[in-house]
C-alpha cells in the first residue's frame, strides 16, 4: 500500500536559489513596467517576476509549455499567484526582455501588477459543479476579453479585483471584491417526494434553509416549502438531490461592487448588490460584460487617485453611485435578511 499522510512537497526544495539565498531579506520592490515586479534584497540581489494571465482551467499541454519557458529563462522555477496568474521568476536581468518578447509572440497576456485589473478569481460553473446558476469560465473569458486593456496597465486609480461565483455558495472571493459576478436563481426548489423518502436526512435539510422556509411533513415522510419565504439560495439542493432548483429560464447573474480584503486605509468590506438580475446569455453574456464595463468606467472617470471602488462609493455615497451609473434602484437592493437594520440610513444626511 502506498504511503499516506505524507503531506505536500516541502516548499524549501522548490524555491529558486536566489530566493533561498535572500529569504526574508528583501528590501524593496519596484514595478519597472506593466506586469513586471523587481525585488531587491539587502545584499543587492535582484529578482524579476513576470506575471502572466491564465485561464485557470488549463491543459497539461499549457503547463508543459510554461515549464519550457521557465526552463529557458528561469532555470526551471516558476510560481502561481493567489489569483491564478503565472509568475516567471527571472534572476538574470538580461533574460527579462527576451522572455517578455517570447510571451508576447505566444499571446500570453502580461499584466495584473499594481494598479491594474488582475485575473478573475472564479469557480467551476457548468464545467464541473452540480449547483451552479451560470457558467464560470465562459463569463470570465467574456469579461476579460472586454476589459483586456486594463490588465496590462498600471495607471488605474487603485487595484481592480473582479471575482465570479456560479452560485450563492460563493466559493472564492465574490463577497469581498471590487466587482463581483454571482450566479443566482429566482424560482423555488421543486420537491421530489419520492427522492426525499429514499435518502434525505430531513432534519439536516430543514436546518439548511436560512429563512426557515422548509418544514417537515411527517405524514408524507417528506418536506413542504413555504414558497413565500424562499429566496432561492439553493442550499436545500446542496443538501438533497430531491430539491431540484436549476431553471434555465430564470437563472442568471447578479452584480455586487465595493468589497475589499486589504486593510490599507479602510477596513476590509463586503461587496454590495447593485444589479439584482441579468440574464444568462451564453456564449458571450453581453449584458454582463456591458454592466461590468459601465461600472468600471464610471469608477475610472470619477474616483480620486488611490481609491478602490468601495472607497470611492463610500466617499460619494451610494445614492450618488446609483445616480452616476444610472443603475435603477429597486426594492431588491434593500436588505431584508437578519442583519439588515445596520444597512438602513439612520441619519438625515444624504444627497438628492
Amino acid at each position: 500500500m502506498s504511503k499516506i499522510d505524507g503531506g505536500p512537497p516541502d516548499y524549501k526544495k522548490l524555491l529558486p536559489p536566489i530566493i533561498t539565498e535572500n529569504y526574508g531579506q528583501w528590501k524593496y520592490h519596484e514595478i519597472p513596467r506593466a506586469g513586471v515586479l523587481k525585488h531587491v534584497s539587502e545584499k543587492g540581489d535582484t529578482l524579476y517576476s513576470v506575471r502572466v494571465g491564465s485561464p485557470r482551467l488549463v491543459s497539461i499541454d499549457y503547463i508543459r509549455d510554461i515549464c519550457a519557458l521557465a526552463d529557458s529563462y528561469c532555470d526551471g522555477y516558476l510560481r502561481f499567484t493567489s489569483r491564478n496568474n503565472v509568475e516567471f521568476l527571472v534572476s538574470d536581468e538580461g533574460k527579462v526582455e527576451p522572455l517578455i518578447k517570447e510571451l508576447e509572440a505566444k499571446g500570453y497576456p502580461i499584466g495584473g501588477v499594481g494598479n491594474a485589473l488582475s485575473n478573475i478569481v472564479h469557480t467551476q460553473g457548468w464545467v464541473h459543479c452540480h449547483t451552479p446558476a451560470t457558467d464560470a469560465s465562459g463569463i470570465v473569458k467574456a469579461v476579460m476579453d472586454d476589459l483586456y486593456e486594463y490588465f496590462g496597465r498600471t495607471d488605474l486609480p487603485a487595484k481592480l479585483k473582479v471575482a465570479m461565483a456560479c452560485c450563492l455558495n460563493m466559493c472564492g472571493a465574490v463577497h469581498c471584491s471590487d466587482v463581483a459576478i454571482l450566479g443566482v436563481h429566482r424560482t423555488p426548489p421543486r420537491v421530489d417526494h419520492e427522492k426525499i423518502r429514499k435518502g434525505t436526512e430531513i432534519p439536516t435539510l430543514v436546518a439548511a434553509c436560512p429563512t426557515g422556509a422548509i418544514r417537515p411533513d411527517p405524514k408524507n415522510k417528506s418536506v413542504v416549502v413555504n414558497e413565500e419565504r424562499c429566496m432561492y439560495c439553493g442550499n436545500c439542493y446542496t443538501m438533497s438531490p430531491a430539491m431540484e432548483i436549476l431553471d434555465a429560464k430564470n437563472d442568471g447573474i447578479a452584480i455586487l461592487v465595493g468589497g475589499k480584503v486589504s486593510n490599507a486605509r479602510t477596513a476590509p468590506s463586503f461587496s454590495r448588490l447593485v444589479i439584482p438580475f441579468l440574464p444568462n446569455n451564453p456564449p458571450r453574456w453581453p449584458e454582463v460584460t456591458a454592466a461590468v464595463r459601465h461600472i468600471v468606467e464610471t469608477w475610472l472617470n470619477n474616483a480620486r487617485k488611490g481609491e478602490r471602488v468601495g472607497e470611492w462609493i463610500e466617499r460619494i455615497g451610494w445614492e450618488r453611485f446609483f445616480s452616476l451609473t444610472e443603475i435603477p434602484f429597486t426594492d431588491k437592493h434593500i436588505d431584508d435578511f437578519i442583519f439588515s437594520r445596520e444597512t438602513f440610513r439612520t441619519t438625515a444626511a444624504f444627497k438628492y
Partner: protein, 395 residues
C-alpha cells in the same frame, strides 16, 4: 460517433484573453473524456443549465476526502464523462514549483485522467479535473510515490494556503510558507479524515495587505503585523518627494488614523507610532522609504466564511499579537482548544464563526480561555443586555 459541433464554445476561442475552450480542445486531441466535456459544455450553453448529477461519493483507501465525485445526467450521450471526478492535490506553500515537479504531475495526469486541470482551486489545491472511479487509487498511489498527497474536502481541515511571504516580499512579518507547511504537516489526520461539524480553513498572510484574502476566506486568518513603530528612511522620503510624489496628499491625508506628519521644508516624514494601526498604506505607496517595525508577529482572527447559511462573515480579532516562531506551540495550543469546543458544540454544518455568533463571544472566550481585550471590537455593545456568570455576583 462523429465529432459534435461546438459553435457557441468556438466563439470563446476569439479575443485576447487566453481561452479555456482552446485548453479543453488541446486535451480533447488525445483524450475522449476531454472531448465529451467540450460537447457536454456546449450542450449546457444551449440549454442554459448544468448537466452534472447531484453529489457523488468516491475516494481513496485510508482517506475520507480529497476527491469530488461527479457524474453527468446525460451518460448515454456523453459516455466518457459518465464519471468525471476531480482530485485535489495539496500544493506546495505559496505555489512555488520546479518545472520537473510540474512535469511529473502532468505525466501522472496524462496517464490517468482527462489532461485538464485547475491551477489552482480557490482554497489552493492543484485540481485534477475529470477521471474515472477505477483510476482514483492508482493515480493516488503514483502521486504518493512522487511525493505528493491529496488536499482536503468535506467536514475537515481543508488545505491551508499562504501568500508569497518572506520568499519574495519585503513586508512579510512572519514566515507564512513555513507556518502553512508546518500546520499542514501537523494536522494531516484532521485534513484527510473528516471528523468535524463542518469545514475549517487556515490562511496565512504576511501583512495586512492580505494577499491570500485570509480575512474573508478562512475560519482562522493569520495576518502578519508588528508591535513597535514603522521604520522611515528620510533619504528615501526625499527621493520620493523629488520624484514628484504628493506625500501629503497621497500618503498623509489617506492615513486612516492621521498618524503621519510631513514636513514640506525638510522633506521628512514622521509617525506618531502609538496612533498607527498598521494598515500598510504608507508602506505600499513608498516601499523604499517605509518598512514594518522590527518586533514582528501576527494577529489571529476567527470566523471568516461565505454567505450560506447566516450571511458572509469576515474574520474578527481574537489575539491581537502572537509571536510566530517554530514550532508554533502557542498557536497550536489555542487551535486545539478551539477545535475541541467547536467539535463539542457545533451543529451539523455549522461553521466556527456561526457557532461563536450563536453561543456568544463571551461564552466562547471563557470556554476556550482567551482574555477579552478592546482590540476584539470596533466599539462596545450599545444594549445593556449583559449576561453575568453566576460566579461573578455576590452570593
Amino acid at each position: 460517433m462523429p465529432d459534435k459541433k461546438t459553435p457557441k464554445l468556438d466563439e470563446l476561442e476569439h479575443g485576447p484573453w487566453p481561452s479555456f475552450v482552446t485548453e479543453i480542445k488541446k486535451a480533447a486531441v488525445r483524450n475522449e473524456s476531454a472531448k465529451d466535456l467540450l460537447n457536454l459544455l456546449e450542450r449546457s450553453y444551449d440549454d442554459k443549465r448544468g448537466h452534472w448529477k447531484h453529489g457523488g461519493i468516491v475516494g481513496v483507501r485510508g482517506y475520507g476526502g480529497g476527491v469530488i465525485g461527479r457524474y453527468t445526467d446525460l451518460p448515454e450521450e456523453y459516455p466518457h464523462v459518465a464519471e468525471f471526478h476531480t482530485m485535489r492535490v495539496n500544493a506546495p506553500s505559496a505555489w512555488f514549483y520546479k518545472t520537473e515537479t510540474l512535469r511529473t504531475l502532468c505525466d501522472i495526469w496524462e496517464k490517468h485522467g482527462s489532461g485538464l486541470t485547475n491551477v489552482h482551486g480557490s482554497t489552493g489545491d492543484l485540481i485534477f479535473l475529470g477521471m474515472k472511479t477505477e483510476e482514483l487509487q492508482t493515480t493516488y498511489d503514483e502521486l504518493s510515490d512522487a511525493g505528493f498527497d491529496l488536499g482536503g474536502s468535506g467536514s475537515c481541515l481543508r488545505s491551508p494556503s499562504c501568500c508569497v511571504g518572506p520568499a519574495r516580499c519585503e513586508s512579510a512579518c512572519y514566515d507564512t510558507l513555513d507556518v502553512c507547511y508546518d500546520l499542514t504537516s501537523s494536522y494531516q489526520d484532521e485534513l484527510h479524515r473528516p471528523m468535524w461539524p463542518y469545514k475549517f480553513k487556515f490562511k496565512m498572510s504576511g501583512c495586512a495587505n492580505d494577499c491570500v484574502a485570509a480575512i474573508a476566506r478562512a475560519d482562522c486568518s493569520i495576518i502578519g503585523t508588528w508591535r513597535d513603530s514603522i521604520r522611515i528612511d528620510q533619504d528615501q522620503v526625499k527621493a520620493y518627494a523629488e520624484s514628484g510624489l504628493d506625500i501629503q496628499g497621497m500618503v498623509c491625508d489617506k492615513c486612516p488614523t492621521r498618524a503621519l506628519k510631513y514636513d514640506h521644508e525638510k522633506k521628512e516624514l514622521h509617525v506618531i507610532a502609538e496612533d498607527c494601526s498598521r494598515c500598510m498604506h504608507c508602506i505600499n505607496v513608498m516601499p523604499k522609504a517605509v518598512r514594518p517595525g522590527k518586533e514582528k508577529g501576527a494577529t489571529i482572527l476567527l470566523g471568516g466564511k461565505s454567505t450560506i447559511v447566516q450571511s458572509a462573515f469576515l474574520s474578527w480579532v481574537i489575539v491581537p499579537f502572537m509571536k510566530m516562531e517554530p514550532p508554533y506551540t502557542e498557536l497550536k495550543e489555542m487551535v486545539a482548544k478551539i477545535w475541541d469546543w467547536w467539535d463539542e458544540n457545533g451543529k451539523t454544518r455549522e461553521r466556527l464563526g456561526e457557532l461563536i455568533y450563536r453561543m456568544g463571544m463571551t461564552k466562547f472566550l471563557r470556554e476556550v480561555g482567551l482574555p477579552p481585550v478592546p482590540q476584539m471590537v470596533f466599539r462596545p455593545r450599545a444594549n445593556p443586555y449583559v449576561f453575568w456568570p453566576q460566579d461573578e455576583i455576590v452570593k
